[in-house]
Symmetry: C2
Subunit: 159 residues, 2 copies
């Protein structure tokens, strides 16, 4: 590892954080994914839970479908026309750690009297679940100060 | 655990994800935190790395300082006036899992030929670091389908 690399020698143009935020980097998109993780699937339910304008909601749902995070699945209530539900794809489910990391930070720093409104549990044993950092050699629960970023195989030199 | 709770019976008004996004839920804020994790501290360096308008940058830095994620630390280059650096606080460092989760998702789904531009390593052993879900009973590397959200002690019933 070259400890002395200088961030400014590298381009941020191909940054994976920025690319992800181009898809979900808007408040309603992440809140919509939160509701999908909490089990909602229907337009009217998302609208009710989020209190978001219908046109915004419909735009954000379309973006998440377009990028493969949600898929449309038809359903029909008795006596109604066919409608679409929005179901998390595998790629969508893989964003759960990002939503949970935001949840966890808010629970710790911003929740009313530190009483979290939502608890995520391991279905296998019922214990609360948290996001943490672990390395490929098996060291778990690393602190931010235990880790550092280095240029990877796809790093581009700055112009 | 009450498996049959209905999300719509509860209010989203005190959601910790939404509260966190009120502070960092804007593309430049998360990218700015990314750069701070990558080691940048100075206004001119953030500006160069992000290519963001100066007024936006200065507004986002002020918000992150106001909410205790960054703190201003004075420095002075020889022959120059005193300036301020922006250094991550403990609360700011605790957002690393959120930034890393976005990075990881982008590396997996959006990186050029799956060659990540940045690799985060454990300083203790050099192995690459990832974000994952683990439960308080010690079950690690849980999938999104192994976990579910339930109303917590601070849950509010919907009006």
């Amino acid at each position: 590892m070259d400890d002395d690399w200088n961030r400014l020698d590298y381009s941020a143009a191909n940054c994976s954080v920025a690319r992800t935020l181009q898809i979900v980097g808007e408040k309603w998109s992440l809140l919509l994914l939160r509701e999908a993780f909490f089990g909602l699937r229907r337009f009217a339910d998302f609208e009710r839970a989020l209190g978001c304008a219908r046109n915004l909601l419909s735009e954000r749902l379309a973006t998440l479908v377009e990028h493969g995070l949600l898929e449309r699945v038809p359903y029909r209530e008795p006596g109604q026309r066919e409608r679409q539900e929005y179901v998390l794809t595998e790629a969508g489910l893989e964003l759960l750690p990002a939503v949970m990391a935001l949840l966890q930070w808010g629970d710790r720093h911003l929740a009313d009297l530190a009483r979290p409104p939502v608890v995520v549990r391991h279905l296998g044993c019922g214990a609360p679940v948290a996001v943490h950092l672990g390395c490929a050699a098996g060291h778990e629960h690393l602190a931010a100060t235990d880790v550092a970023a280095f240029p990877g195989p796809g790093a581009l030199r700055a112009a």
